[in-house]
């Protein structure tokens, strides 16, 4: 066996079927889709090659850039609001002595629900008349807010729902990192008279930096490809206020039968994702050095 695995022909024999499948299901569709991006295919009739017209149209398409902007807001919200909250809650739970398992399970539950369920559930909570959120705000004297119907509030409403769904998952990740830290460090710190906040800020957070960096990366990736929650809750509306790149592309391609343009958009999305990945590697990615303790 060992000698046969050193034989390059045997190697090839094992690798070829996989490569074939990979080419058939990944490489070929990708190349065809790149090809369609340069046509005016409407999904039904013959295609005409139209050069870069689709891309020119995309660069001039304010609705698309509006969707890109919303994606960026998703990313900023994830990194600047969600991640600090995740770390905060994880440290909080790690300090709990009793029922820690209960808290862990509770925060994790939203991530196992399907997005469709969550979208509909929160749709009810945001209901302007009977929704619990407006009922509560009403007690504080706030006037009725049309969460999903108002262009000022719709995106925030979706962002909060999305955060609620995924934070638990990340909290459990960070919690695992915190709990694996040696107890002695914090004990020594408390003997030296460091307060809980000082311990968290000067000891715990620096020690879990690598996992925070991973979470930032996952959040950015998640925010880039977010689409399901948008489609369920608002379908991009009202008038594009919650449209993200993927939902705009799906609606363009399928709903309006503009497959050529839709594929061109998907190539643009790919390019933007590539750009962001490069940016991430140059900034946060460098933070991922190993912490020794």
């Amino acid at each position: 066996m060992r000698s046969s695995l050193r034989n390059p022909y045997i190697y090839t024999l094992f690798v070829v079927p996989t490569l074939g499948l990979y080419a058939l299901f990944f490489i070929y569709p990708m190349l065809t889709s790149v090809g369609y991006g340069f046509t005016d295919w409407n999904g039904l009739q013959d295609t005409n090659f139209i050069g870069f017209a689709n891309f020119e149209r995309a660069f001039a398409d304010s609705s698309f850039w509006n969707a890109v902007r919303n994606n960026m807001i998703f990313i900023l919200f994830s990194v600047c609001v969600q991640v600090p909250l995740i770390v905060f809650f994880a440290i909080l739970i790690s300090q709990v002595r009793r029922f820690q398992g209960f808290y862990k399970t509770t925060v994790f539950v939203p991530s196992i629900l399907s997005t469709a369920v969550i979208g509909i559930l929160w749709g009810f909570m945001y209901d302007p008349e009977v929704g619990i959120i407006n009922q509560f705000l009403g007690l504080l004297g706030v006037e009725t807010i049309y969460w999903l119907a108002d262009t000022r509030w719709a995106l925030l409403a979706v962002l909060m729902t999305n955060a609620w769904q995924w934070m638990g998952f990340y909290i459990v990740l960070v919690l695992a990192a915190i709990l694996s830290l040696p107890k002695e460090i914090n004990e020594a710190a408390s003997i030296d008279g460091a307060s809980g906040f000082q311990q968290a800020w000067h000891i715990t957070v620096p020690l879990i930096k690598p996992i925070i960096s991973v979470i930032v990366m996952l959040s950015i990736a998640g925010a880039m490809r977010v689409v399901d929650i948008v489609l369920v809750m608002t379908n991009g509306g009202p008038i594009g206020a919650t449209d993200v790149m993927a939902s705009y592309m799906v609606n363009r391609a399928i709903r309006y039968g503009d497959y050529g343009y839709g594929t061109a958009l998907s190539i643009m999305i790919f390019a933007i994702a590539l750009l962001l990945t490069a940016l991430y590697q140059l900034t946060f990615g460098k933070m991922r050095e190993r912490v020794e303790f």
Binding site: L44, D150, I239
Partner: protein, 472 residues
């Protein structure tokens, strides 16, 4: 080393047997199920037709025909029952036939699922289809739809339909409208009586009624604009009033312009009503179903909707505060300075069934049986009596008199009277203009509602889109 080979062999063996067992199992299951199916079909057929039928069935292989419909949910249960009956009759007639029903929500089917299937070339054999440029005619042009002309000749239905315009391309018919519809205001008689409002006969009275309702804390007009086609119904009718019924067809051939003062006046009126608070608050987040609920719960005085909605008022699962006795109906009143016939109403024969062009002989027989049993006097009469769906076919005298004697639903009666009183009928522009233009109208009406565009801007953008689409 040997051990590892053995393990590999074992794994291979296990997976192979699993696969084989899977195949065998499903084969056996299919076989027995199919046999049972044939026997059953044979039984009913023999009972119905005697021995000849029974013999034919014995050598008939069972087969299934996929059928996509949109009759899901409580509000559509009457229409589903009619469809089920037609299907049962067709199944009894064609040996071995079993329809495989696939119920999908209307908008999902029309705008997401069917277009994707059409693009991939694998639509269901029979499916719910809308007529017009964006749907039936586009698919027909691409060769995806079955040419029904010979079938209609064979079944003697060729000249039975009232209006096949939206399904006809180059003289060939590619779809069959299941019913007709018109759109107008439903109103809550209880609320009108409570606040002393008369049924409006002029635009001024309509606006006065809305003011009175608003002053009493009632939503004047229930409106769910989350899906843009809902407010577009009202916008469509306003265009028909201000720019005349001819304008609707005129956009496509260039004889009418979206940025003309008349069409802009229609949008301006719509915006004025939005600004005056005549519609449901937060309408951009309200669904079409929620709009009906608001009206049924007596929280709104009026609702602009299609005649098909009348069946909801007799549906015991839906009615809350009001029943069909409490609902009245009137058409959009004449507008001052409006062009053309001010009694014209919206009249549509645009929703029905289409059939895949990719059918084998037996599936074609199934399609014929389906058409025969769904498109006839009996089903048309039932459609009107049970489901408030206006007939799409010319009825025979006995059928027409059956309607006269049996029609009790006061709302449907009023709708019929309104239609009869109308001078002419205009279509929905969504069945006339190209998809590109229609998608722009969806964007623009929501922008108008949100206060992000002025009526003139809406008209200008739409006219640009129309010119671009016409030039293609």
């Amino acid at each position: 080393m040997k051990k590892q080979y053995g393990l590999l062999l074992l794994v291979l063996l296990v997976s192979l047997t699993t696969v084989l067992a899977g195949c065998g199992g499903s084969n056996a299951g299919q076989g027995s199920g199919a046999n049972a199916g044939t026997n059953e079909a044979g039984g009913t057929e023999a009972n119905a037709d005697g021995q000849a039928g029974g013999e034919a069935v014995e050598n008939a292989e069972p087969f299934t025909v996929s059928l996509r419909h949109i009759q899901i949910g409580d509000a559509k249960k009457f229409r589903k029952a009619i469809l089920d009956d037609a299907i049962a009759k067709a199944e009894a007639e064609v040996p071995g036939l079993a329809f495989e029903l696939d119920g999908v929500e209307d908008e999902v089917n029309r705008f997401t699922k069917l277009p994707a299937e059409m693009a991939a070339g694998n639509p269901p054999k029979i499916f719910d289809l809308f007529g017009g440029e964006g749907d039936a005619l586009k698919y027909a042009d691409a060769g995806r739809l079955l040419d029904l002309t010979p079938i209609l000749e064979e079944l003697g239905l060729a000249d039975k339909f009232l209006n096949m315009g939206q399904f006809t391309l180059d003289g060939k018919v590619y779809g069959l409208p299941i019913g007709g519809s018109t759109e107008g205001f439903f109103y809550n008689k209880k609320l009108f009586a409570e606040y002393g409002i008369e049924v409006p006969t002029s635009l001024e009275e309509l606006e006065q009624a809305a003011e009175t309702l608003k002053a009493n804390g009632v939503t004047p007009i229930a409106m769910g604009s989350q899906a843009a086609w809902v407010p577009l119904m009202l916008a469509n009718t306003l265009i028909g009033r201000y720019a005349g019924p001819e304008a609707i067809n005129g956009f496509r051939d260039g004889s009418a312009a979206w940025d003309s003062p008349e069409v802009v006046a229609a949008f301006a009126k719509y915006q004025e009503w939005v600004d005056n608070g005549y519609f449901t608050k937060g309408e951009l987040g309200v669904t079409y179903d929620a709009m009906l609920n608001e009206f049924l719960a007596g929280k709104a005085g009026m609702m602009f909707d299609g005649s098909w909605r009348a069946s909801a008022f007799t549906n015991p699962d839906l009615v809350k505060e009001i029943t069909s006795e409490d609902v009245g109906y009137f058409a959009m009143p004449a507008v001052p300075g409006g062009k053309g016939d001010q009694t014209a109403v919206n009249g549509n024969y645009s929703n029905g069934y289409g059939f895949s062009s990719n059918l084998n002989e037996r599936e074609l027989a199934a399609v014929k049986a389906f058409i025969k049993h769904l498109y006839n006097d009996e089903m048309q009469v039932r459609g009107l009596l049970e489901d408030a769906l206006l007939p799409s076919m010319k009825l025979s005298d006995p059928a027409a008199s059956e309607i006269d004697t049996k029609l009790e639903d006061p709302v449907v009666k009023q709708i019929m009277e309104t239609m009869n009183a109308a001078g002419e009928a205009f279509s929905h522009f969504d069945s006339v203009v190209q998809s590109d233009v229609y998608s722009e109208t969806e964007q623009q009406i929501q922008r108008l509602i949100a206060g992000r565009a002025t009526p003139q801007e809406v008209g200008d953008v739409l006219q640009q889109a129309q010119e671009a689409a016409n030039a293609k």
